[in-house]
Amino acid sequence: MVALGVLALMALASLLAPLYAHDVAHTDPFASNVAGTIMLDGREVDIMQPNDNPLHLGLSPIGPTWRAAYLLGADSQGRDVAARLLYGGRNSLLIAAGAAVLCLLLAGVAGIAAGFLGGVVDTLLSRLMDIMWAVPVYLFAISLSIVMVSQSVRLGPFVLHADSLLIPVFIIALVYVPYAARPIRGRVLALRQAEFVTAARGLGVPVWRIMLRDILPNLATTLVMLGPLVMALALLAESALSFLSLGVQAPQASWGTIIQDGEGLIYTRPMVAIAPGLAIVIVVLALNILGDGLRDALDVRDSGRRAS
């Protein structure tokens, strides 16, 4: 329950990103602001400040101000980290959720086809999953990304531009298909053998109706359970890809890209990298707790039957 609340809060905060940027902080999170200044305690302060090494060589962005503007400080281009965090959260959450939905959709189709049709279809799909599974998830995602990010991809009438947010959604969904398809297939297989399905066949119920009325409702729990877990994985994958500059492309931001921005500042202005990281941890943790809770809640009926 708490997990759900945290998620809702994070999503809401991200949705309100423009509001914060324009009306509260009055900063533009996408424009470089190296020469800018802000008012702090009535004094005008440079956003890029000389380093505090003895020779005052080089410049560092200001750290957290704990005020509306530059709450979490600025990044190396003088942009407001807090505002970027919210905008980045939008992308991160959107990509993760989109990828999770797409992944479950693909995995659902593959799992149901393999489990219900069986035979050659099952063998083919299962082998394909084995093959996809053989490439480490992140490497697979990287390979796909590098191909798609370096050039626009044309798929029939559709053109995916290299900076489209759909690319990470598509890639992440694809690489986690085997992860989700396996349990779905197992469940379908078990359901197909279930006596109530045999009973329905014995009653002369058409296959499509069995599918719709007997298999899908029982499969729903599996899908619901997988949802948050896949989204958690997707969020982690998105941040990793973006960290490697293969996910969300500039000028768009995501939590992963902000961590990457913060990499160079990690010893001087750690907040730039720590804040988005913490955001990821909180959301993923909430998703995992949610997934766990769902599993426990949906398992109750099964465990209750064991009493003898």
Partner: protein
């Protein structure tokens, strides 16, 4: 008097391919006729293939070879779509009353399903009012309150769930009902209720049963004829008390002797040693010879066919036992 059998099996086989090239012969060349109005009891120990046979009878499992004739018509290779038109006349009741009911659907929904998917005898879809009336009729038939229609399967006890399963099987007024161990998961006091229900329904609706069970006493209570199965084939077949009280096959003898009866006195010494061999093991000769106390040299080489011993009593044994006094 020759009646057209309601169901006839001719040399039916069902084999499963297992890894490592092993073959499981669940049903191994079995022929059988079920006459209209009779109750045929099918007994045997676990793994003898009686459940597989029951599913093959209704084409819920596809036989590997042989023929299935329902009402004189070959349905062995009938496509599922055409088979659906026959389903209303042949139904099954399963052993596990909870597994046979979709846990996510209400009883009313489950019972209405066959009425919804099959058209009424006049070829039209049944209106909701007709279905509702039929549902309360069915509940009455199996002795459950109409309010139960609103509830989910897990809210009922095993015996009640089995009544629901029976009601669903009867929704379309079938001629043949194959009941696969319908009472073996139930306690004695509830088991008796369900056995009685089966008997009452047969009388009221003129049903034909194939009653599969491992409990000889239950089978005797309900059946007019009994078939004893061992390793995928019938070893003895005949009128119930004839087979159970004057068995001709050594296996039937051993089976009846092994039943622990609720009578205090001299416990019987077990007749058979060891367990039944695996149905995947290759075999020659009589399928029972390895455990048979009366086995002779011929039994190891030559497989005995099911032959008529006396009217209404057939046995698959080279050296059938003489009938009792």
């Amino acid at each position: 008097m020759t009646l057209t059998p309601l169901l006839e099996l001719r040399d039916l086989r069902k084999t499963y391919r297992l890894p490592r090239g092993r073959v499981l012969r669940a049903v191994d060349g079995l022929s059988l006729r079920v006459l209209p109005g009779e109750t045929l009891g099918l007994v045997g120990e676990s793994g003898c293939g009686k459940s597989t046979l029951g599913r093959c009878m209704l084409r819920l499992a596809d036989p590997s070879s042989g023929q299935i004739l329902f009402e004189g018509r070959d349905i062995t290779t009938l496509p599922e779509r055409r088979l659906r038109a026959l389903r209303p006349r042949m139904q099954m009741v399963f052993q596990d009353s909870s597994a046979a009911l979709n846990p996510r659907r209400r009883i009313g929904d489950l019972l209405a399903e066959p009425l919804r998917v099959h058209p009424a005898p006049d070829g039209r879809r049944r209106p909701a009012s007709v279905i509702a009336a039929r549902l309360s009729e069915l509940m009455d038939l199996v002795g459950l309150p109409v309010q139960a229609l609103e509830r989910y399967p897990h809210e009922f006890s095993g015996g009640q769930r089995q009544r629901i399963n029976i009601a669903r099987a009867l929704a379309l007024t079938p001629r043949l009902v194959v009941a696969d161990e319908p009472v073996s998961a139930l306690d004695v006091s509830v088991q008796a209720q369900i056995v009685n229900l089966f008997a009452d329904l047969r009388r009221e609706l003129g049903l034909t049963y194939v009653f599969i069970a491992h409990d000889l006493a239950v089978v005797r209570q309900i059946s007019s004829r009994v078939a004893v199965m061992y390793l995928g084939a019938i070893v003895e077949l005949g009128e119930t008390d004839g087979v159970l009280h004057h068995p001709a096959h050594p296996y039937t003898t051993a089976l009846t002797a092994a039943v622990p009866r609720a009578v205090v006195g001299h416990p019987h010494a077990p007749v058979l040693r060891g367990d039944a061999p695996s149905p995947t093991a290759p075999r020659t000769g009589c399928r029972f010879h390895a455990r048979c106390p009366q086995a002779q040299a011929r039994c190891a080489q030559e497989e005995p066919a099911l032959h008529t011993l006396r009217p209404g009593h057939a046995v698959a044994c080279h050296f059938p036992l003489p009938p009792g006094p």
